[in-house]
Symmetry: D2
Subunit: 323 residues, 4 copies
């Protein structure tokens, strides 16, 4: 069976599994699921444990945690604070770091393309402390990890692969962990801005809004890499595909269709190419309020990282550490 990614593109392991389950209609061997939820959020932990599951899911082996909270679309300070706490807790659980290891935060994406700007905007809100380590009092130092951050820009702006730039910096700074923040593409418009994904696998080629050509992984950098991503777009092709699926799946429209006749995958692609001819891949579907939404969710992502990195900083005063 083909990996599901050939039909609808998603960067969320959660959605890859949903789509696969829909087709396979049974549990997928090698994929473990664990869920917890409260009234505001659902946390799902997907672990891909076998090469076979990796191939079927189209996602690398490793642990993927998603925090879903539809309320993130609305300016709601207490909810944002709560999701920051969840993110901080999951991030700490995913990374086992020596107390004095430095962490390098990498904001991926293009700051000139609003829905791709999540990484740079979140990186900008990180409390960087690596340069202050010698100035901190011993009490404070205990809860303030050495953190540094960079947003290298994309290939078209720098002429360099992000992977090359980060390799160079990692070889010089020697962090114990890299956290890469990136804007993602979802298969469902409801997940846009409302979902945060942590992945123990780092960033792999082809993912993200800007379709990375390179990877940022433990293999390429020599240190563990955690990827934190938020879907900010749905590909236009997804909407076309969703329309076809809706058409077929709903009995109400049965009178229009010959019984049993399912469109082949090839026919689906033919239709989509007809609807979105030249633009394929160039159009993005994004919320109207994307500028404000990106700013808000970048604050949530940065806030969660800040809490995980610097547990002893009083959050009321965390802004004192900000540039």
């Amino acid at each position: 069976m083909d990996p599901i990614v050939t039909t609808v593109r998603t960067d969320l392991a959660l959605e890859a599994r949903e789509m696969l389950t829909k087709r396979v209609r049974e549990d997928i061997p090698g994929v473990l699921i664990e869920t917890s939820e409260d009234e505001d959020a659902v946390i799902t932990r997907v672990t891909i444990t076998t090469p076979e599951a990796e191939r079927m899911m189209g996602k690398m082996q490793g642990k993927y945690i998603t925090i879903e909270s539809p309320g993130l679309r609305y300016k709601n300070t207490p909810l944002q604070q709560k999701i920051m706490n969840f993110l901080a807790k999951e991030l700490v659980s995913m990374t086992k770091l020596p107390r004095n290891a430095t962490v390098l935060i990498v904001g991926l994406g293009n700051w000139n393309v609003t829905p791709d700007a999540l990484g740079p905007r979140a990186a900008h809100k990180i409390v960087v402390t690596r340069h202050l380590q010698d100035m901190l009092s011993p009490e404070l130092k205990d809860g303030v990890r050495s953190v540094c951050a960079i947003s290298p820009g994309v290939l078209g702006i720098t002429g360099m692969e992000t992977g090359e730039i980060i390799q160079g910096i990692v070889s010089k700074i020697k962090p114990g962990l890299v956290i890469a923040i990136d804007a993602l593409a979802a298969a469902s418009s409801q997940r846009v801005i409302t979902t945060v994904q942590l992945a123990s696998t780092g960033i792999h080629p082809g993912s993200g809004v800007g379709n990375k050509r390179f990877g940022l992984t433990q293999a390429s950098l020599g240190v563990p890499v955690v990827a934190i991503g938020v879907p900010t777009v749905v590909h236009a092709t997804t909407i076309a595909m969703d329309t076809i699926n809706t058409l077929q799946e709903h009995a109400a429209f049965g009178r229009y269709f010959k019984s049993m006749a399912n469109l082949s995958d090839q026919d689906r692609h033919t239709i989509v190419r007809q609807v979105l001819p030249e633009m394929l891949g160039d159009l993005m579907v994004t919320p109207k309020e994307v500028d404000r939404l990106i700013e808000d969710i970048a604050a949530v992502v940065a806030g969660g990282i800040n809490q995980a990195m610097h547990p002893n900083i009083d959050y009321e005063n965390i802004h004192m550490y900000l540039h």
Copy 2:
């Protein structure tokens, strides 16, 4: 017959006519068409002359001129210059103004939502001269019209209808013409950024990316109003509709459908609402490079207006007049 706008939304009279022709499959009485083209651009002039045509087209009686040039998507200075010239010429032909009348340029839309920011960005590039009239030498004054400009912001930002603000300013400034610049929604993704529309009818409620609640028309302002618009988004619903239509129209997919069975308009809407449930209207489909594209097309629109207003300013030095 229902106006076509109930199915797919477009602010372009050109597209409204295309869609209507497709359904009616004959000439529409009361709609005059005139076309001219060269290797870079097609200019179409649609005139709606009867109330019946107005109802069928879903567009007010008046003259609509579109300049289409696919090359506008690419940074191409000579082509941009050429389209500016076309726009200036059509704008002059549409407006018969006494030499010393003041023109007020209104940049509509929300500067915080990139695809809706065309109006404010173009208005900002207008060569305003009303405050300099007493300082200009007689030779220069001859080719430099009195022009002023404002971008009032949208209802959610000001708490005032744009119509109220502009009525107040018009009553004070007493211009001879208002030119309103606005971002539009197209039915076809190929027209996004590549088409400029001039309308002698002004702005009518429900149009534009931000779905205006008010109108800016000769009736409401007491002076002629020309609207200049560029499609910057396609509504997500359009993609869903396009998919359904493609599916039905292509004989190749006939094997899936029962013969003769066309989806009713109501069924189409049911499907679209299923595909884009809560988001309906909140999602926009826009090119990835929208930030750069808006900046470029705003320069073309402002350049065309500047040329029409100030025929004697040497274009090389037009920047000398800019703030």
Copy 3:
């Protein structure tokens, strides 16, 4: 005696009085002073009650309240909150408004010149409600005044005097009060960003960073106008003047000067013109961090106005009303 403003320029009544007192070395008739302070802030209320005092101070008759708090330079949420409360209280005390009167907030200044952008940035953070009045429940409506806001831009951008634009809008909207927010010039660098001034006199020509040519006053608009300003620049000439004064005033440098010899006002100007020849008035002295500082102080000003306008909105949730 010449008004002090011919030597060092300030928009603060407080500083005008300080400078005048220094020269006159006695109480100024027609100028009433009242001060209150706590550990974080000093509030000074200057009332100019006679035409003679108006002439000597170079400030129109009326009430000027300044809230000074050096801590405003540092990101300090509790202090910012406290100053917002002070501002709200002073603003309420200065304006006696019928409960259902609409208030129009005007953000003056040029958004393209960071230190002049205070007005537009603060206006953008105002909770506008005029368009929501019909939708509010009766309980809520009681504490939510009808507020609208606009940032018209400066003469070089619009070709229209701000006074003309606001007159037009006021004649249409008929507010009961106009609040104009503006960036000011101070005589002392210590007051930059740390001082908020309320003036019952509105805006007078020649004031502000951009040196207004027009006024926004009860006389010109037909409704009361309160001006709220924050110094964001010191004119470069001020630094030159301060240097000369310091040189003369300090006995320690007496050995360099002939006894008794004070520089004449004319000589001072000759020196300043020598030091700052062509640039006079074009250079501004501003803190390095002006971008961040303007953003922070704009939030304080807008927050104070929001509290004064909408006493029943819970501040925790005030962001819910923001666009």
Copy 4:
């Protein structure tokens, strides 16, 4: 004798020499000067050839070229083009590079502080080509050098010294030359925005608007480093110093001063500290129109570099290569 930099700070070798000459009133051994000029610009080439000259000038041994053109303050396309050409020519003459060597452009400074944003803004306008080398046709390749660019951000934003980041990237990318673009401080307000300096010495600690703590030099990076800088600020202290000097130097004011009595350097500093007490170093003096001016001069700097790097690209179409 103390280096002049203890009194008035300048990053321009040209000004350091002017000030030194004024004090020493004779030629400085080890400093070579060469000048050429036309009606629009003066080009001065200062070479510091001895350790003694380095100490007296407060500038490292090497070659410093300044292009001065007061017209750069005004939007003037032909003049900007001319200065680009001059800059390109001087840059080529300063660097002898193998044809296939890669060049890394580094935009220094803080993009959040407008006068310090020259480096990032210019770097953004560089035609990067390193990632396109394999795609270029042989004819084109000949005049299109492999160029890449990065704006790393400042210490307070990244937690890393810019020197560390660039060392890491250089070790990975292995360029044949680094060109570092930086905003400078001038001693004279007339040089702000009107002067471009090229220095064969790279960047040394303490220079620039943001007062670098690190160096970017051949010694630290292992490859030649050319620094290109434009003064965008004058330090507030400079204006105070200028005032004192003007006061003393002009015979017209002699009647106020005791004959022969010159202020000691220490007294000067006491005065300046009195005038600019807490702010010392935090205030900057900058033109009101700095946002527009930085944008324009960044285009000139980037244009000059682009021409030097890619002599075969037709300037009309250079934008085609831009992201």
